[in-house]
Symmetry: none
Subunit: 190 residues, 4 copies
DNA sequence: TGTTAAGCGAGACGGTACGTCGCGTCTTAAT
DNA sequence: ATTAAGACGCGACGTACCGTCTCGCTTAACA
């Protein structure tokens, strides 16, 4: 008989959440901040989501962008394409901070941990694909795909987060060479 | 002329911080909680640390024993020792969370960025040493040390943070094998 | 559209304020003391009053008690009745202290000064009435009423505040005699 | 052997106290404010005065010149001289406030009560003298001196504290006339 | 098609923690 | 042994959000 939870309110709250994360980082995120920014009442937010984290999860969920696996014909080309696109994300400080905020928040919230997994796998799947194709082509010896992913993303992450800055574009070739050697490619061919 | 910041107060606050993390997790951590638990006044805490995060970082810092570079005679042995000890830290969710908090906070605070650098280099220096020795011994071709560090820590970080759990101890050998191959070691082990 | 500031919360805070003033004097008065005593949250108090003084003013305002002018037929009788009742207030150390606290606080807060005026005039009006009746009856020569008030309250105040103790009941007749003589009554007649 | 409590420090603190009262009013007065303004250390202030109130009282004391009993030859002249000088003190809001603070503090602190008594008697003694001389001269009938004091100070106090402002200089003659009549002077003046 | 229950904005409520200020006590070094 | 300097435990300050609640207004689905 009554009207259902309105989709407009939901969308406004989610948009505001995302806008806040981009502008102020996770520290600026609070139910009341969303209220202020979106014009959606606190009551309404609690009617849609039972906690701030759930709203966060939902907002991030809505913004997962699917990255297709490149297929250039060689592991080297595919890796180059893949890491280049990953670097674009990392090079943007706002996005970098959002990722870190998510990682740290997820460390103490199993619910966020799951949404993190979903976001991460969106990025890891293409790598799995790339590596599997390379194995089929005989470019590299068989390898457990998850381990390969670790090997591709790891150096990028370490570089970005520990050193504070992502690698520059001209450092990429050297990194890829090391990665390929680690994966067992015969010759990274120059 | 006045008395210096007292070491006892500092220690009591740090101990209380750790006790809280152990008993209630990071959610139970607050300046006032530390005050209640330690008997150290809030004002005093603020005299020692300008923010809750700094106290957290300091507590972390105090409880992470500086690991000297192992010297087992071979790159493989050194890496095993090094990564094993790194894993111990990563396996503790509280420390993992603190590291992530530090990384994300540092992303938007230059002051924290420096503290982070200090903590990170505490961990990277031993690796630089290990790698340099391996190069001297001719085990691996010459390599820019920072890049090598990236290659050792990266997979561990990716594993821990992206997948949510650090690698188990029996996965270590395989990871090390990949890392060594990436660094160009002739044959990881016979 | 939201619910209005609740009258219950307001009343509870005001009552607690008054209770504190009576029990501990103005030094015991603080927002947090009111919070503790009333069960009304600090935030709520700040929603109702923008400062501690405003609450104080409001609380005192609510407790102004109207004293009716006695009418015994003679100035001597009226004065006796009036000063006796005034003495009752002064004899209570808690009320005495409250009055002094109010006087001194009002000396640097125009807002409190006004509420003080209201409280004072509640006590002065009856005296004005008494004196005016005495003038009409020809008991005393015409006099500016405010000056007469000064003359009745003054000695009582000086006695109470400077000497530290209010006059005893058996000193009253002599004081009244002096007052009447000052006002110009032919003979205080015994 | 040790040096005694230094008079310079004492003076600097008292001067700073007065400067603060002048610049920021009594609300700006605090031990730490005096410390900041005078350069005299907190320790030193507590060595000289056991509380902020005592410092305040002392500062007041130092800046109130002891007024000797005037001797003009007539009660009327003496009273005029006496009340005029009392009015000067009362006209200064800072001193007025300080007097009230002292009175209210004394109401619940026996130690302060004594200090108050000392300050008060500094002002009452001259009046006692004046009145005794008037009795000797036969100007007024014998009277208990304390009661006379009450009668001189009372109207001034009531005027100043209840009405909020001290009487103006041109109101004084009328007040004195009333006081003299109350004391039983045959004819205040012809 | 008019009724009506639920959604909605607004925001008051009792709370917890924040980071700051001043208190009065204390410790230290320097004169 | 007094002083300037200031750290200490303490407690109140005023603010920000929390999650719950009450309020009228609005609106979509059912009768």
């Amino acid at each position: 008989m009554p009207r259902p939870l309105s989709e407009t309110a939901r969308q406004k709250a989610i948009d505001a959440t995302f806008a806040i994360l981009g502008d102020e980082g996770i520290d600026g995120f609070s139910i009341e901040a969303v209220t202020r920014r979106s014009g959606v009442a606190k009551t309404t937010i609690y009617r849609h989501w039972s906690s701030a984290n759930e709203l966060l999860v939902d907002a991030l969920d809505c913004h997962i962008e699917t990255v297709p696996a490149p297929d250039t014909g060689s592991l080297h080309g595919d890796l180059t394409a893949m890491t280049t696109s990953a670097l674009e994300v990392m090079a943007d400080p706002a996005r970098r901070r959002m990722l870190l905020d998510l990682l740290s928040a997820a460390a103490s919230d199993p619910e966020l941990e799951q949404i993190k997994q979903a976001l991460v796998s969106e990025r890891t799947h293409p790598i799995v694909e790339i590596v599997e194709r390379a194995v089929e082509r005989g470019e590299i010896p068989p390898i457990e795909p998850e381990r390969a992913v670790t090997f591709v993303h790891g150096p990028l992450m370490a570089r970005t987060m520990l050193q504070g800055e992502p690698p520059t574009t001209d450092e990429l070739p050297e990194l890829i060479e090391l990665i390929m050697r680690g994966l067992g490619a015969e010759r990274p061919d120059t």
